[in-house]
Subunit: 680 residues, 3 copies
């Protein structure tokens, strides 16, 4: 599968990261030294200008671009390309104090003081116009700068503003969406608790007991940020129509609907900060990272994505953050490439001396020289990535889709009941992703609104909210021969979070051939047992343990593959299957242990003959991911264990692209080691 590179005409993987020369203008020797060190580290791109507004426009309409001119020219001469950020991520003091409207209001209507960052109103006409102006200045000035390859809009958009301007815009949005107050009241089920609105003007606050209202607010805020991005983009596109734009996302951050937001961007990118070495299983941390990488790989499936930030060592904000162990900088960089990134970028190149992030890992530490473990590992990876330009344009094709929906995450999180602790939507999706990752099988993690054709297997964990058409398209998917796995907590509410009448799982009842009569919610230390039916076609293991969620299922066309072992619903189905059309639909009624989930998908992998990147079983904690480019197919084999492993290769023969050596029979990998294989 071929994809467009993230930046046009890229010949090399991008390597580098955030660079803040504005903090060091008083020390020209350090700026000079930076250029030497970048070269030494094989850095070919840096992100400049994030949070530089106060340095670019120290007073209103007084612009100081000269220092940036020098920085960009110096980088260009030194061989680095530049990702240029618009400075809206933090507003300067003069702007915030002169125009209070640019500061946010909290949910109770209080105007925030000027502090921190990420706290400007998205609606404020003043802020929009000031951003448009400085963006225009930047774009005009650097439109033809040979170093410039990408626009980085603002930084990690986040949070909400509840100011009068935002609330007024929200009311307009509501009116546009619902047309009449009656429609809105119906969608909000607002006669409950006497909440019915007499007019749109009566919407003055985001009442969390009205779930439809809260959903509407998040949808509005997503669109408001998109509209803000359009304001940012307009001058950039005017002066540099040839350059792509991105903004850096934050994993599964849920204030906005990221897949929808991605529509305003040319390229998606994200900031990845896994909590390595925190005492949890290392490979699970890796698997979680892979899951998110795959979300971004699929968010714009036709174009490579960018790893915009990562730390070369530790973070400064986690309660405890250990430096990356030797090899992990390289391994986590290669992991991003394996899942389709065209870059490995760090926050930050040089550690700042003061304030909040002075202890965040950097390529160049306060010591200032290159003789540190971290610098050496960064430089070594830089050199290695020089060999990997061949993967540019390479994508990943998958026969497995796993559904992950932002609005579904919202609805589950905001629901009062049926369980209010450990809802764990994302963790549940991850648990269903893990067996594939351990098997080296690619998974597309996609929204439920995406095209389902082309997949053999679709997994829909906790798909509480069924958006319009999803049930019908699932039906069609199975009818056409697809295999579908749905779990507990699915098919409960529509896009407005109004429950389906007629019984769970709502519009999926017929497809699955079941009715969920009620749902047992287990306490933290309570368990249920799941007993496979003898001779069940999934070859499920003897007995497994369920926890937290156990649906009480009635068969209405499906067959039971496993039964509950205890309590008043002992003997009721815990896993069901319905064969319909050319396909099969499974229902997993309880939250099961990992052994169960692994057994389930191991069977389906075999049954559906899903293709593995490497034939045969992988050692635990090792995965293999493919990237298929014009120049060939590259298999990244990665050992996320601290100890060495041997990866059996069956009869295939490969070349390790990183070492240019032949490999056959078995691939030995040291702890935290990786290889990139190409079949020969």
């Amino acid at each position: 599968m071929k994809v467009q590179p993230a930046t046009p005409g890229a010949k090399r993987l991008l390597y580098g990261g955030d660079y803040n020369p504005e903090q060091w203008l008083h020390a020209p020797d350090i700026l000079q030294e930076d250029l030497r060190l970048m070269k030494l580290a094989h850095i070919n791109v840096v992100t400049v200008g994030v949070f530089a507004w106060a340095s670019l426009e120290p007073q209103q309409d007084h612009f100081t671009f000269d220092w940036l001119d020098r920085v960009l020219d110096g980088l260009e001469k030194n061989g680095q390309k530049v990702i240029l950020a618009t400075p809206s991520g933090a507003k300067p003091n003069w702007l915030a104090l002169k125009y209070p409207e640019v500061r946010r209001c909290t949910a109770d209507g209080t105007r925030e003081p000027q502090q921190g960052r990420h706290n400007h109103c998205m609606t404020s006409p003043v802020y929009r116009s000031r951003v448009a102006l400085i963006n225009a200045k930047l774009a005009e000035r650097y439109a033809r700068h040979p170093a410039l390859i990408l626009w980085h809009i603002s930084n990690e958009f986040g949070g909400y503003c509840y100011c009068p301007l935002c609330m007024a815009a929200f009311r307009q949005w509501l009116e546009a969406r619902y047309q009449s107050v009656e429609n809105m009241n119906q969608a909000f089920w607002s006669k409950f608790w006497s909440h019915a609105f007499g007019s749109f003007d009566e919407v003055t606050v985001i009442d969390k007991s009205i779930h439809g209202l809260e959903l509407a607010w998040k949808r509005f805020m997503t669109e408001q940020v998109m509209s803000f991005i359009e304001v940012e983009k307009a001058p950039l596109k005017k002066f540099t129509p040839h350059l792509p734009v991105t903004t850096n996302f934050m994993g599964l951050y849920d204030a906005y609907d990221y897949p929808q937001m991605a529509q305003t961007l040319d390229v998606v990118s994200w900031d990845s900060y896994p909590h390595w070495h925190d005492g949890a299983c290392e490979w699970r941390t890796a698997c979680q990272t892979a899951f998110t990488h795959d979300i971004y790989r699929c968010m714009k499936p036709d174009r490579a994505w960018l790893l915009m930030e990562s730390t070369p060592s530790n973070t400064n904000w986690a309660p405890i953050s250990r430096p990356k162990r030797p090899g992990v900088l390289r391994l986590s960089g290669l992991q991003a490439i394996a899942h389709g990134s065209d870059s490995v970028l760090y926050f930050q190149f040089r550690k700042s001396r003061g304030s909040y992030e002075k202890f965040h890992g950097a390529v160049v530490d306060h010591v200032g020289h290159e003789h540190t473990r971290v610098f050496k590992e960064a430089a070594a990876l830089g050199a290695e990535l020089g060999e990997l330009g061949v993967v540019l344009g390479g994508g990943t094709s998958s026969q497995v889709a796993l559904l992950y929906d932002w609005p579904n995450a919202w609805a589950i999180a905001q629901a009062a009941g049926p369980r209010n602790m450990d809802k764990d939507y994302a963790a549940t999706c991850l648990a269903h992703y893990e067996p594939f990752w351990l098997s080296g099988i690619a998974v597309d993690v996609i929204e439920s609104t995406r095209d389902f054709s082309g997949y053999k297997l679709m997994v829909a964990p906790m798909l509480y909210m069924l958006r319009p058409g999803v049930a019908e398209r699932m039906q069609a998917f199975v009818a056409a021969g697809g295999t579908l796995v749905v779990t507990y907590m699915s098919g409960i509410a529509d896009e407005n979070d109004l429950c389906f009448l007629g019984g769970w799982p709502g519009p999926l009842k017929d497809l699955l051939g079941i009715w969920v009569q009620e749902q047992d919610i287990l306490g933290d230390h309570q368990k249920q047992s799941v007993v496979p039916v003898v001779g069940n076609p999934l070859a499920l293991p003897a007995v497994s343990q369920a926890r937290q969620y156990c649906d009480v299922v009635e068969l209405q066309g499906a067959e039971a593959l496993a039964l509950y072992g205890a309590d008043f619903y002992a003997g009721k189905p815990a896993v069901t299957r319905r064969r319909t059309g050319k396909g099969t639909a499974y229902y997993v009624a309880s939250r099961n242990d990992d052994a169960f989930t692994l057994a389930l998908y191991s069977h389906l992998i075999k049954d559906l003959a899903l293709p593995r990147a490497i034939p045969g079983e992988l050692p635990p904690g090792v995965t293999a991911q493919r990237r298929s480019a014009e120049s060939g197919e590259f298999i990244f084999v990665m050992n996320f264990n601290e100890v060495a492993v041997e990866v059996p290769l069956a009869t295939a023969q490969y070349r390790n692209v990183l070492t240019n050596r032949r490999v056959k029979g078995a691939l030995p990998l040291a702890g935290f080691d990786a290889a990139v294989l190409q079949a020969v």
Copy 2:
């Protein structure tokens, strides 16, 4: 003991619950189906109109009663009576936005936005007049409606408002109560921390370091809610003098003094939501529920009370809430009847589709039909209750009083020291209630201001605050032959929370014959041992463990029955007895384990020959409660264990009213089963 039925002329126990047709006016088929389902479930009453203000008065002075006319007429024709709620529990948006004064202010004076519910000012003249108006409209319109049997005022009153109107009313209240600033300063001990007030006008905030002020505030707020209820009642009583009024209380909720509030009501009712199946011992959950039922039984001892809300299955708001296991819907319904309720009512009849309570258990689930376990159990209980109308008018007589005072709970909670964690006033009362419940002995749980005559045994756990006259009445109770048990943390402060001078337990020193010189406060993992004196008349067990509170007691007329085993006060009394007049007064100086408490009361039960509902010991987790009506005495025998038991019946012979079968020798009860016996 005969009591008046909760609703005049009742022939049947009330069975039904909250019903919100206003949420379904767009779906006449569903409203029609509701009538069929109610009949099927043997429902004879529904509560209508809670939170219906926006549906009844969608704009100011524009009333829409037609839908309610149709609903009430339909119910009447279908055989259901109606409890009609006044709609003040949630204010409509137009009212809240047009008249900001109806919205509450928080303790720091901030006006709340319009959201949630239960958040109107009790003082606001505007709110009072709007409530009076709509109540008058309702009362006038439905005064003669044959379905109407009871007024349900507002819903679960709660919380405080600190707006200027409330604070002004509070200052007037203070002046009326204390007459002079000097009196108030003395009652507040306000020279401490220079808090002395120069005038009543200087009371501008509820300063939590002035305990007398905080107490005064809670007393004022109680009276303010009562005054608000009077405003609600006036039009109801005008148009329907024949109908009783209630409001639904929330167990031991402590913002207001419920027993005092009950004086404004004709009937008391409460909403009972025990946390069944949460991993704690099931029968302790039942015992806690029984304790609260007994508080409500005694709050208006001459009239039956109503179980106004309970869930047919799960709640939606608890962190984790499991569906009621098979049998528990029936068992907990019968438990309420056993303790004197004339009703079993549910929140809710039909589950709402959207917003905050869409996952709260209901008789009719989203599936909409009767073929669910929950519906079937509800219908079966409905049928069974049809046989139990015979208990109407039946009350319970008790020879044991346990004191539980709201102002005492306030004073203990707000005190700084002597212990600031795990004060557990209610739990301590419950621990002293449990031995009686396990023995099938009725306990009146009453305020200390109530008449003490007629009891043989009085238990006063942690009676920190002695209100005026209480010590004297206790003295008289013992002098007249009563047995009194007082514990640690009693007799410390007067009604203003000013400590008694002269030593603990204040005015009870002479009666108890002791002086508590000091109090040891143990850490969470620290223990003290309590060693019975050899040959002690209570036959206390060998050695028991005390925790948290250990008074250091000096004998001043009493004798020691048990001694501390360790620490610097080893050998000092841990339990004392003083015989005085015709009675006996015990002091329990430490917080003891359950074995101790059970032994103590087992002895007193035997010694005082307290009557059991069933002769002989009951199996653990089983209780028996009597209700004595004109038609006879009915003994509810209830098994709160998940497993079956046999209840020995000695030589008595009974008829099980529910099955109409004879029982003798032993009563077998399945897990969560119950029987209603009548001696034959």
Copy 3:
């Protein structure tokens, strides 16, 4: 070493405490009884007037001193001296309501209501003038009162005000300190996150992400409180130039820089409330108290300090507070004297009847008489202290300095990273203090700005911030023969919290002969091992366990004495030594277990022949502290174990001053017992 007594011409140790007659003016019999009880308890001083403003000036400009006249005269006649408090610790209602500016604003600018205490603005001209006026009235009236011996300014200064007046004063302070906005921006590293200020006027909020700004704020607030104290002092010094002033500090409370504040005072005093008997090791509680006592002993090294408050029994505000066990009142009183206090003072003499502190321990309980354990113990100590006037003027000389810096504590606490949990600066200093305390070796706990000469050993745990000149003075200290111990997390930032460039530990790199390349931060359950180099000169124990912080050290002139045993930096130095000049500098790279720390200092104690108060080893939990007066050298030997011990005395012979008996060979001490020895 001779010191000036805390109060001029003192002949006796001060014994007594807080006394609040204004709470009892309505009960003259109680006031009379107080005098009798004070005499009985050997009380010779009481602190009067704390929080008495409302009683002294009940309305503006209306003063009522008559009751205070009577109280002071009565005390004088009864033999008690008086510490007179200025009343500013709590403002009266009339003042707070008439002049809102005297009430504080919170960090978000909200004006606080009038409640609680300790909540006046330090900047308000109104408050300053009202305080000056009442202080002048007090000083003028009682200037010649024979009972008056000391002024107690306000009470436990604490907290911040962010009102417009304070913010304006802060901006002036910033301008005075930094001269130009450029300098300030550089010190704040404020180009980070676009925080650069265009003018001083733009500083409108204390942004916690700008660490330099937060530091500046704490420095400003310290100076603002000092300036407030100067306002308080002016009238006192005018009318009573002969009397010293103090204010009561709160241990290591860190809102202000206490050592700096102490410069405005004649005498330092503090309120000591250790959490005895809470289940933790008793002697560690004692050691922690000793550490703080030593801080105050050294804060004004030429003058004795005062124990201003302590509880005779329990506190009322801790989650759990146990009464002091028999002997502990005496032991903790003697402990203060041993560490240089001239007083043992209690909060409070008589327990108040109402409000927040009614359950705080007192010499006289609510019972009102002297027949309580607590009163008896207090009276016995009073008698005993009568024998100890000989220690007046006696100081302590030490050869060990341990550095504890308030601004360092600030900087560590406010840092984001490298570790955000369990930073534990104070606890780490305490861990390094403990071996000396266990050995009976005096330690001066001093600021890093103090003179280092005269010490043999200096310990600098976690000296993250190196203030100007400190590194140079450490260098000189070692060059001159001193032994220096520095730990992980030292030498990282300058006085503005800007990190040193050139590598950790900054300006101490050369002195220590090391470079800390990076720092491993361990998770809560993670460990590292520290393996001594064979034959290391410190005779370190076999292997010890490090946790939380492990520096990865490179030798640059030092030698390794112990190495890490595991992880990627196994074999790197964990302890280093560099001999330079005439001295030695050690670096302890990890947070080690107590066994390691004890072994380290045991060696240094031996090596440097540091003098012990008692020759030879002390039993665990026993310490000995010397106080050297003109009349001789007094050795306080204190057993903080609950059980009895024998303290070996080698060949020396002593007299126990408290019993006037000879002691030799061994000193037997009961649990919680103490002796005061003088060599004979």
